[in-house]
C-alpha cells in the first residue's frame, strides 16, 4: 500500500471512531433517555480545546503566535482524561440550569442559543482559545513517540481510537442493557410514571447529560489531536444536526445501529460526495453533503423513524420460562 492510501484509510478509520463515540453520547441522551440537546457540538468543542490546552504547553512559550488560557504540557492519557472531565463538568453546569429550571420546550431553544453564544464567545475573546483562527499544532500523542516512522505513528493513533471506541461501546452496552438503562428508557417513555415508581427523572436526565457530554468531549479531543488544529468553524451549531441525523438514521436507542448511522452519515456521505461526477468545487461538495444529510433525515423520519437497526426489544419470556422451572426445583430442594 502506498503511503497516501495508508494515510487515507487511517483518516477514514479515525473519523469513523470519533463520530461513533460522539453519536453514542448523543444517543444516550436523545435516543435512550429522550433529552433533546441542541448544544451537543459545544461539548465536543470543549473537549477539543481542553485536550489542546493540556498538551500545547504555555501560550507564552509559542512565541506569541497563538493566545489561549492555561496551557500545560501533559503526557498522553491526561489531555484526553482532562477533556472528558471538562466536557462532563460543563454539561453538569448547563444541565443544572436548563434541565431543572426550564420547561422542555424552552430547553431546546435555550440549548440552541447557548451553542451559538459559545461560538461567538470563542471567536471574539481571542485570549480564550485564539479566537476565530483557532488552535493549531496540537500534539498528537502517537507522534511524540520517537524512533518510529510517520506511518507507524499514524497507525498507532488509529489503534488508540479504535480501542477507545471499543471501550466506549462496551460501556454503552453496560449502561443501556442494565436496570439503569431501563430507567433511562422509562424516563423517555413516561416521566410521570417513572417518578411514581420511585426514580428521579431529573437526576437521570442530568446523569446522561454529563456522560454524553464527556463522550462528546472525548470525540472532540481525539479529533483535535488527529487534525492538529481546532477552530470555531469546526463546531457551528448545525454540526449538532449531523449527530442527530446519525442517530435517527442508525436507530434511536440502538447501540450498533447508531454506530452504523454515524459511520454512514458523518463519514460515508462525505466520501460518497467525493466520488460523484460533479467536479471538485469544495463549496459545492460541502453543500451537497448538507443537502443529502437533510434529505436523509426527512426520508428516515417519514419512512423508517425507528432507523436502520431499530432498538432491540428486550425479550424475557423464554428466559423466565426455562429459568422458572429450574428455580422452583432448587427452592423446593432447599426447603
Amino acid at each position: 500500500m502506498s503511503a497516501a492510501t495508508q494515510y487515507y484509510i487511517a483518516t477514514i478509520v479515525v473519523y469513523i471512531c470519533v463520530n461513533v463515540i460522539g453519536a453514542w453520547g448523543l444517543d444516550l441522551q436523545f435516543g435512550v433517555t429522550g433529552v433533546l440537546n441542541f448544544a451537543f457540538i459545544l461539548f465536543q468543542a470543549a473537549g477539543a480545546y481542553t485536550a489542546a490546552m493540556l498538551s500545547l504547553g504555555p501560550a507564552s512559550a509559542s512565541g506569541g503566535f497563538q493566545h489561549y488560557l492555561v496551557g500545560f504540557k501533559l503526557p498522553f492519557p491526561l489531555p484526553l482524561i482532562g477533556a472528558m472531565l471538562v466536557g462532563g463538568a460543563l454539561s453538569a453546569v448547563i444541565g443544572l440550569i436548563t434541565l431543572r429550571r426550564l420547561r422542555s420546550d424552552y430547553q431546546a431553544m435555550v440549548m440552541l442559543v447557548i451553542s451559538v453564544v459559545a461560538t461567538v464567545v470563542a471567536e471574539s475573546v481571542v485570549g480564550l482559545a485564539n479566537g476565530s483562527a483557532g488552535l493549531s499544532l496540537i500534539p498528537n500523542p502517537a507522534k511524540s513517540l520517537t524512533g518510529l516512522t510517520l506511518q507507524t505513528q499514524n497507525w498507532l493513533f488509529v489503534g488508540l481510537c479504535v480501542a477507545l471506541m471499543l471501550i466506549v461501546g462496551v460501556l454503552m452496552y453496560g449502561l443501556v442493557y442494565s436496570p439503569y438503562g431501563r430507567v433511562l428508557r422509562g424516563v423517555r417513555e413516561n416521566e410521570a410514571a417513572v417518578e411514581a415508581m420511585g426514580r428521579s427523572a431529573t437526576r437521570a436526565r442530568l446523569q446522561v447529560f454529563i456522560i454524553g457530554g464527556a463522550l462528546a468531549a472525548l470525540s472532540g479531543a481525539l479529533l483535535a489531536q488527529f487534525i492538529g488544529a481546532w477552530a470555531p468553524s469546526e463546531w457551528l451549531y448545525p454540526e449538532t444536526f449531523v449527530f442527530f441525523t446519525a442517530v435517527i438514521v442508525g436507530g434511536r436507542g440502538s447501540i450498533s445501529g447508531v454506530a452504523i448511522g454515524a459511520a454512514l452519515v458523518a463519514v460515508g456521505i462525505q466520501q460518497a460526495v467525493q466520488y460523484m461526477p460533479i467536479g471538485s468545487d469544495p463549496t459545492l461538495l460541502a453543500a451537497l453533503e448538507w443537502i443529502i444529510t437533510g434529505l436523509l433525515t426527512l426520508i428516515f423520519l417519514w419512512l423508517r423513524p425507528q432507523g436502520l437497526l431499530p432498538e432491540r426489544r428486550r425479550r424475557y419470556l423464554r428466559r423466565v420460562k426455562t429459568g422458572f422451572a429450574a428455580t422452583k426445583l432448587q427452592e423446593s430442594a432447599g426447603t
Binding site: I97, R103, D105, A108, V120, S124
Partner: protein, 295 residues
C-alpha cells in the same frame, strides 16, 4: 453621552429589522405550534429574489415587495408540502423541530450550491444622512424603521380588529372552540404561514440592506437573534416580540459601543438566558402562560 445616543440610534434600526422577523416567527408559532427553524431560510430565499430583481434593474423597495410575496408563498408551500404531511404522519413537537432544521439545511445549502459561497449585495444607495440630536440615520435606515413600524402596527391592528385576526388569536388559544364558532381552521393556519412568510421576506431584505453583504446562509445565522427576541418577549405574543426586539436591539448596540463589538450577540443572549431563568414564559407574554406549548 453622544456615544450612548448614537448607539441607541443603531439599536433602533437593529430592533426594527428584528421586530419584523420576530413578529412573523412568533405569530406563526402561536397559531400552528411548529417551532420553525427554516424561518431564516425563507428570509434568505426571498432576499435573493429581491437581489435578482434588484440587479435586473428594479428599485430596491419594489424588489422588497416582491420578496414579501415570494416569502409568503415559500412559507405556505413549505407548510403544505412538508410540515402538514409530517404532522398528519404523527410526528410530535420535537420531531417537527428536527424536520424544520432539515428543511433549513436543505434550502440554505441548495441555495449555496446554486449561487456559490460568495458575498452579495443590493445596488441601493444608502441615501442622504439625517441627524437627530447625536444620532445619524441614512434615508435607507429611516425607511426600514418606517416599514417596521408600519408592518408591526398593521399586524397588531389586524389581529386586534379584523374578523380574521380575531379568528387567528382565537385559534391560537383554543382551536376546538374556534371550530365551534365556525372558523375554517385550515384556511386560517394557511394564512398565518403566508403572513409569517411575508414578514420573513421583508425582514430578510431589510436585514441584508442593513448589513450590506450577505450569503446563502445569512438568514439562518441571524435566526438565533430573532428567536432570542421572540422568546424574550414571550413566544406567542406579537407585541412581546416587538418589545423583545427593542430590548435585544438596543442592548446589543449599546453593549457594542461600550464594550466589544464582537461580543454584542453574547450580551443579547446573556440577557435572554438571564430572563428565562427568572421568568421562563418571557417578559410580556400572557399567552405562553395560558397555553402549554409542548404536548
Amino acid at each position: 453621552m453622544a456615544v450612548f445616543i448614537s448607539a441607541v440610534g443603531f439599536g433602533v434600526v437593529t430592533a426594527a429589522i428584528l421586530a419584523i422577523s420576530a413578529v412573523g416567527f412568533t405569530l406563526q408559532f402561536s397559531v400552528t405550534n411548529v417551532f420553525n427553524l427554516a424561518f431564516g431560510s425563507v428570509m434568505t430565499l426571498s432576499g435573493f429574489v429581491a437581489y435578482w430583481l434588484n440587479h435586473a434593474g428594479l428599485n430596491i423597495w419594489v424588489a422588497m415587495a416582491a420578496a414579501a410575496v415570494s416569502g409568503g408563498l415559500i412559507s405556505l408551500a413549505i407548510n403544505e408540502a412538508i410540515y402538514t404531511p409530517f404532522i398528519r404522519h404523527g410526528l410530535n413537537l420535537f420531531g417537527m423541530v428536527i424536520v424544520t432544521i432539515s428543511v433549513a439545511v436543505i434550502f440554505d445549502h441548495g441555495l449555496q450550491a446554486a449561487v456559490g459561497p460568495t458575498f452579495f449585495s443590493y445596488t441601493a444607495p444608502a441615501g442622504k444622512a439625517f441627524r437627530f440630536a447625536d444620532f445619524v440615520l441614512t434615508r435607507q435606515e429611516l425607511i426600514i424603521v418606517g416599514i417596521a413600524v408600519l408592518l408591526t402596527i398593521l399586524v397588531q391592528v389586524a389581529l386586534q380588529y379584523t374578523r380574521v385576526g380575531k379568528a387567528m388569536r382565537g385559534l391560537a388559544i383554543n382551536a376546538s372552540l374556534a371550530r365551534a364558532c365556525g372558523v375554517p381552521t385550515r384556511g386560517v393556519i394557511a394564512l398565518a404561514w403566508f403572513v409569517s412568510g411575508v414578514l420573513a421576506g421583508v425582514g430578510g431584505v431589510a436585514l441584508f440592506l442593513d448589513i450590506s453583504t450577505f450569503t446563502a446562509t445569512t438568514g439562518s445565522e441571524f435566526l438565533i437573534v430573532i428567536i432570542a427576541a421572540a422568546v424574550l418577549g414571550g413566544i406567542g405574543s406579537p407585541r412581546g416580540a416587538v418589545l423583545g426586539a427593542l430590548v435585544v436591539g438596543i442592548v446589543t448596540e449599546v453593549g457594542a459601543a461600550y464594550w466589544n463589538a464582537e461580543l454584542k450577540d453574547v450580551l443579547a443572549f446573556g440577557v435572554l438566558i438571564a430572563v428565562l431563568l427568572v421568568r421562563p414564559q418571557g417578559l410580556f407574554s400572557r399567552l405562553a402562560t395560558e397555553r402549554a406549548i409542548a404536548r
